[in-house]
C-alpha cells in the first residue's frame, strides 16, 4: 500500500480508471461484451467509457460468450489488445473451449510465434441472492490451465494496479472481480502505478497464524483477524493476488514464521484453490507446522437461493475466526 494515497475510490471506479488509462495510453486496447457500452455493464463498472472512447472501442455484443471470447483470441493475435467482458463468472462455462483449447495454447502450440495478449474480465462471489447459476467462483479451473494467468484483486488499489499489468501482459489473463466488492472504497493514488503478477501482499502482519485469503475472502479474513486480536491471537493475512503465477515463497515463509496456516477462498473447497495452496504450504513449511493447514472454501453444494441457506455456504469472519481459534488451540 502506498504511503501517500489520499484519494479514495471504489473498487468499480478503480477498475474503470485502469481501463480508461490504458485505453488512453494504447489505442489498441478495446473492450467487448454484453451491455458494456451505453449500459456500462449491469454493475455500471464501465459507465462512461463508450462516451470517451467511442463505439469502435467499446462494443456491445450479442449474448455469445463463446463467440466473442474466440474473437478476443483472434483479435489479440493480430494487433488489438482486447478486454473481453464476461458478465458473470458462471458464464465462463461457455468460454472454456476458447480460453483453454485456444487462448492458453496458441503461444505454445505455435512454437512461440503467435501471442494472445488478451484480458478476460469476469466476476465471482455468492451472497447476492442470485442462486446457483449466478454465484459461482470458478477461478480454480483457469488456475489449473497452463498458459493462462489468473488475477484476484481484493482492494481498489490492487484492482487498478493489477488490471493495468494484465492489459500490458503478452498472455491471456483472467481477471476476477468480486461482485460484492464493487462498492468497497479504498485509497488509490492519482499517480500511475502497476503491480507485478506473482507477488503476494501481506495485508496484515501477524505472528501466531497465517491466513492466506484470495479476492472476496481477504476483507473477510481481515475481519476475522480483528476478532482474533481481541482474544490475543495475532493473525497474518496474506493475499497472493494472483493464483497463477503463485508467490509460493511468501506464503511458505509466513507459515514457517507463524507455524500455523489457513487458506480461505470463495471457490468450492474440493479440488480447488485451497487444496493447491494448502499443499504448497504443507510441503514448504512441513517441519515448522504445528497443526495441519486448515482449508475453508465454499460448501460443496450448488449455491442456494434462500438467504439463510446461502449465508452458510461461504466463509464469514465468524467462521474463519472460529477455525483459526481452534487451529491455535484456544477455546
Amino acid at each position: 500500500m502506498p504511503e501517500a494515497a489520499q484519494r479514495e475510490l471504489t473498487f468499480a471506479q478503480a477498475v474503470r480508471e485502469a481501463l480508461a488509462e490504458e485505453m488512453r495510453r494504447d489505442s489498441r486496447v478495446c473492450i467487448f461484451g454484453e451491455d458494456v457500452a451505453e449500459a456500462g455493464t449491469p454493475f455500471k463498472v464501465l459507465a462512461g467509457l463508450v462516451e470517451e472512447f467511442g463505439a469502435e472501442r467499446v462494443l456491445d455484443t450479442p449474448i455469445s460468450e463463446a463467440g466473442f471470447t474466440g474473437m478476443g483470441v483472434g483479435a489479440a493475435m493480430t494487433g488489438l489488445r482486447p478486454v473481453v467482458d464476461i458478465m458473470f463468472g458462471d458464464f465462463l462455462t461457455l468460454t472454456m473451449d476458447q480460453m483453454v483449447n485456444q487462448a492458453a495454447k496458441v503461444h505454445y502450440m505455435s512454437g512461440g510465434t503467435w501471442k494472445v495478449p488478451m484480458v478476460l474480465r469476469t466476476t465471482l462471489g455468492a451472497t447476492r441472492r442470485s442462486a446457483a447459476q449466478h454465484s459461482q467462483s470458478l477461478h480454480a479451473w483457469l488456475s489449473h490451465v497452463p498458459g493462462l494467468k489468473v488475477v484476484m484483486p481484493s482492494t481498489p488499489y490492487d484492482a487498478k494496479g493489477l488490471l493495468k499489468t494484465a492489459i500490458r501482459d503478452e498472455n491471456p489473463v483472467v481477471f476476477f472481480e468480486d461482485k460484492m466488492m464493487f462498492k468497497l472504497k479504498g485509497p488509490v493514488p492519482v499517480e500511475e502505478y502497476t503491480i507485478p503478477f506473482g507477488v503476494a501482499d501481506i495485508k496484515r502482519q501477524g505472528e501466531d497464524i497465517t491466513i492466506v485469503a484470495t479476492s472476496s475472502m481477504v476483507q473477510v479474513a481481515l475481519g476475522a483477524a480483528e476478532l482474533l486480536e481481541k482474544i490475543g491471537i495475532s493473525a497474518e493475512v496474506i493475499d497472493p493476488r494472483t493464483t497463477w503465477p503463485l508467490d509460493e515463497k511468501t506464503l511458505i515463509e509466513s507459515a514457517k514464521k507463524t507455524s500455523r496456516a489457513m487458506v480461505v477462498d470463495e471457490g468450492y473447497g474440493r479440488y480447488g484453490v485451497t487444496g493447491e495452496i494448502a499443499s504448497v504450504i504443507a510441503e514448504g513449511a512441513f517441519y515448522n507446522l504445528e497443526a495441519p493447514v486448515k482449508r475453508m472454501g465454499a460448501m460443496h453444494v450448488p449455491i442456494p437461493f434462500s438467504p439463510p441457506l446461502e449465508d452458510v455456504t461461504v466463509p464469514t469472519d465468524q467462521t474463519i475466526f472460529e477455525a483459526a481459534r481452534a487451529l491455535c488451540g484456544k477455546e
Binding site: D60, R128, A132, Q133, S306, L309
Partner: protein
Amino acid sequence: MTTVTDKSNTKSNTQVEKWIRTYRRMVMIRLFEEQVNELYTRALMPGLAHLYVGEEAVAVGICEALNPTDYITSTHRGHGHCLAKGASPDRMFAELLGKEAGYCRGKGGSMHIADPATGNLGANAIVGGSTGIATGAALSSKRLRTGQVAVCFFGEGALGQGVLYEVMNLAALWKLPVIYVCENNLYTEYTHYSETTAGDILARGTAFGVQAEAVDGQDVRAVNAIAQKLVDRARKGEGPAFLLCNTYRYTGHHVGDINREYYRSKQEEQEWKTKRDPIKNLAEWLISEKLADAAGLTAIETEVRAEMKSAVEFAIAAPYPGVEEVEQDVYA
C-alpha cells in the same frame, strides 16, 4: 369463488370457457408480477426478479395448446410460463422469498422454479441454457412413445447462443416433438435486438430444417391458434417448429431497472401498453363477441387479485428451510 389455479387438465371444450380461462390466466400473471414488484419495493424479496408483464399472451396462448403432461422449459423471465402451465401462485411466491414451501424448497428462487407435476422442467438463468434440456425431453417422448410435446421458451437474446442451433439441427434430424418459442420483446437487458441480431430470425429456424412461423405475441388467440397447429404437428411426429412471438416487456429488465430512457423511450413503452395490451385486447374481443361483459371481467380481476394477495401473505408467513437443508439434494 372460482379457483384461479384451474389446471389445464380441467380444460373445457367450449369456446367461452376456454377464452375466459385464458383471460383469467393472463390477468393472474399480470397481478402476480405486480405483487412481485411490490415485494421488491417493500424489500421483502431477496435478490431481483424479471417481470413478464406485457408478454402474458405468449405463455398463456401456448400453454393453452398443451396437455398437462407436456413439458416446458423456461427462462430468467419465467413466472408467466410457470403460471400458464398451471403452477400455484402461493408456492411460487414462497419460492421467490426463499421459503421451504416454495416449489424448490427455496433453493431455486425466481430464476429456477421447476415443477414435475405441471411438466415444468425448470426455469433457467443461463440464456439459452434450457434449449438442450427441452430437446432432450422431446427425445424421451419420442423414444418412450409417450406423445408428449416439449416447449422451449426463450428470449430473443438466446438467438446469440450457438447451442440453440446445435439442438435445432438435432431436433430436425431426429424429428423431435419440440417447439422453440422465441419471445422477441425487442431487448436483451439494455440493448435493442437489432444491434445484436443480423439476418432474419425466422430463417434461423428454417436453415436448420425447423418449420418456422411468426405471430403477433400480443394477440393471445393468434398465438394459441398457431401453437395448436405446431403442437399437433409435433405430436403427430412431423417434427420440430420455431415460433417467433413479437412482444414487449412493459417494465425494466428486472425490478431494479427503473431509469430506462438511455435505451428506450417512454413513448415506445406507452404505445405498446396502450395500443397492444394483450389483456385489454382479449377483453375487448370477449365483450364484442358477447362472450363476457365488463362486469364479469372485472369480477375475475377482483377474484384473482384477492387470490394473489392471500398467496403473497402465505409466502410471507411461511418459514425458511432449516439450515441443515443446505447440504441436502446435492445428490439424489
